[in-house]
């Protein structure tokens, strides 16, 4: 089965006053139909820029400077802006942390959803409203027909995010990119949305790239996980394998930092230091200055180690010592 989306060698750079910052550095991954990829990283890891780069939404001074984004055999990077616009919302769509990035505050939910339908398909307003209502039902909005007549400000944060997701799936896109969509929501609401998203992938076959800082969320939601650090993917693999047997010391450190895994009151194992500035990354492995396993070898670029399905970029991966 071929992948719904295949990203290869994606690189995005920002020109700043202090020099060129490579926010996304040679990122490659693919997501199959109906599968969910968790793209995990801390702030500055480049995970969000990766999402924006896929959709060609990087604004100057940023620039996607290399790589391929294949969706249904088309390289999105080679498209004209006009052709790209036609793909967005139809073949590939995006959900943001703040649903108001998608929602127009002065339009009723039904109106803007109908507009979104008719932006790509020539159907009657009535048919567009019907599709809008169906999409709201898919994401588990109760009394969908009534919600269509509401304005965004009349909805709660969780409800708005569901509407944003419903808009994103109106055209049954092959790929949905979700950038921290539940981070601002309460945990009980997050639980509801995660359940709907899992169902969405299973039922419609949409491939989902779920971008988040929260390993716990993706460990229960995603099929596969990519861990990003300083613009690169440092570990990739099936969610179960990555969580059960992390290869990269950074992945291990992230998991160990979660308090729920430790006896209350005892010091948490912590990753020392802070995320390096992308402006002056150390040579070789970007994590080596914080890594407990680092050696002189780490000043050279780390190799890809592990199996075909579960691998990490590290000179001293865990589990093989």
């Amino acid at each position: 089965m071929s992948a719904a989306i295949e990203v290869a060698g994606l690189t995005t750079q920002f020109e700043t006053r202090a020099g060129i910052v490579t926010a996304v550095n040679d990122v490659s991954f693919s997501v199959g139909r109906g599968r969910i990829l968790g793209l995990v990283g801390e702030s500055g890891s480049g995970k969000s820029v990766t999402g924006f780069s896929i959709l060609g939404l990087v604004d100057p001074p940023g620039r996607v400077s290399g790589g391929q984004v294949l969706v249904a055999g088309t390289d999105l990077r080679g498209l004209t802006p006009e052709a790209m616009r036609k793909m967005r919302g139809k073949a590939v769509s995006m959900v943001f942390q703040d649903p108001m990035m998608t929602l127009n505050p002065v339009l009723r939910v039904g109106d803007q959803m109908a507009r979104a339908v008719r932006a790509h398909d020539r159907v009657s307003t009535r048919a567009a409203w019907d599709r809008a209502r169906a999409a709201l039902e898919v994401v588990g909005i109760p009394a969908a027909a009534e919600r269509l007549h509401a304005y965004p400000h009349q909805l709660s944060g969780g409800m708005r995010q569901r509407v944003a997701i419903a808009i994103a799936i109106l055209h049954q896109p092959a790929v949905l990119i979700a950038d921290e969509p539940t981070t601002a929501l309460d945990v009980s609401i997050q639980g509801q949305i995660l359940a709907e998203v899992r169902r969405l992938a299973d039922d419609t076959g949409t491939a989902i790239v779920w971008i988040t800082h929260d390993l716990a969320v993706v460990s229960s939601l995603a099929d596969d996980i990519c861990v990003m650090y300083a613009g690169r993917i440092v570990e990739r693999g099936p969610a179960e394998a990555v969580i059960a047997r992390p290869l990269h010391p950074y992945t291990r450190g992230l998991m160990d930092s979660v308090p729920a895994r430790h006896e209350p009151g005892k010091p948490l194992p912590q990753i020392p230091g802070s995320t390096p500035s992308l402006l002056n990354l150390p040579s070789g492995c970007p994590f080596r200055n914080r890594c407990p396993r680092a050696s002189d070898l780490c000043t050279t670029d780390p190799p890809e180690v592990g199996t075909a399905t579960h691998s990490a970029r590290c000179h001293h991966p865990l589990g093989d010592a």
Binding site: D186, S188, Q192, D256, S274
Partner: protein, 336 residues
């Protein structure tokens, strides 16, 4: 056990008064535009010296309002807050005037809580200097000691906040609070905006300071895992009320209130394998218009007729374990 902090029957309502146009509309028969947010309703809690009380809840539960009342930023609409028997603030023309330096607060967002134009050394020394916490000649030494204590170079005192990362800024905010030699720290989502790896560092710092200084703290967070890790006792709040209060281990191992249980089931746990999600049904009601009776009854799987009319009081389910649920006090049916 004598309480250091005593919160007694505290309620807080925020009222938005209608503007002139709305008042005129109301006069000719329009709707009354006065809106009242019931942020806190009848909260009673105490914190013993040396204890860390965790406050957990989702948005709109009133946990941040409670922190601000304890910190003397708001006056409660009813009830009292005392530290060592003395009120923390008094009402002055509708605004709170803080009376004590013994309660210090640490905010959520370290990018907003430090004045961007003041050097961090001065940010830390300003309070002690003004209140003469130490003789003025020793303030500089104290600042250097504190910076070292929170894990920063003492020479950083001359830098401005924008030169620091989020985790470092939160350390500075902690140093600023400690500089006042407080009896009680109020931490309002103090690690919520930090990356996981940085969060662990700051939590470790807090635990270490607690051990060394015997800190008493109100630790407010939406993150059950974090709260469990640092707290002795935990209060779960929902829509302005405390619904469950128990020692941390007890509440995690044996939650009683249906909301607490549902909350625990909603948390994604770092683990392997696809899991079924058991989300709580429905949305959090607006504190503008809280439901009558038990505020959780519209979402509660066990709700009965009694829950719709009678507010359950926090009553002991076990020694030291309070639950505000009719299931624990005679059932959900209305008394005949």
């Amino acid at each position: 056990m004598s309480a250091l902090l005593q919160i007694t029957g505290v309620s807080k309502r925020f009222t938005r008064h209608p503007n002139l146009a709305e008042r005129m509309l109301h006069a000719v028969g329009g709707p009354d535009a006065t809106q009242t947010v019931h942020a806190l309703t009848d909260v009673t809690l105490e914190v013993a010296r040396g204890e860390v009380l965790g406050i957990v809840g989702e948005s709109g539960c009133g946990k941040s309002t409670l922190g601000r009342i304890v910190s003397g930023i708001y006056m409660p609409s009813a009830g009292s807050i005392t530290l060592d028997g003395k009120p923390v603030a008094r009402d002055r023309g509708g605004a709170a005037e803080k009376l004590t330096t013994q309660v210090q607060m640490i905010h959520q967002d370290p990018f907003a809580s430090l004045n961007p134009r003041i050097k961090v050394g001065q940010t830390i020394s300003e309070g002690p200097h003004h209140h003469r916490v130490v003789p003025r000649a020793q303030v500089d030494t104290m600042v250097r000691d504190l910076l070292g204590r929170v894990g920063l170079e003492p020479s950083y005192a001359g830098r401005l906040p924008h030169q620091f990362s989020g985790g470092q800024r939160q350390r500075i905010a902690i140093a600023r609070a400690l500089a006042m030699n407080p009896d009680l720290l109020v931490l309002d989502e103090a690690v919520a905006s930090l990356d996981v790896s940085i969060q662990a560092q700051v939590l470790n710092l807090f635990l270490e300071l607690r051990r060394e200084l015997g800190l008493t703290a109100l630790f407010i967070s939406h993150d059950l895992g974090v709260v469990r890790h640092v707290s002795d006792r935990v209060a779960i709040m929902y829509l302005g009320r405390v619904v469950e209060l128990a020692p941390a281990e007890r509440i995690y191992n044996d939650p009683q209130h249906p909301y607490t249980r549902a909350l625990f089931e909603s948390i994604p746990v770092l683990g392997t394998g696809r899991r079924e999600f058991h989300p709580i049904k429905g949305e959090i009601p607006s504190p503008l218009n809280p439901p009558p009776g038990c505020a959780f009854h519209p979402r509660c799987p066990h709700a009965g007729p009694r829950c719709r009319v009678e507010v359950p009081a926090l009553s002991p389910a076990a020694p030291g374990h309070g639950v505000a649920c009719h299931l624990n006090t005679g059932g959900v049916e209305l008394a005949a």
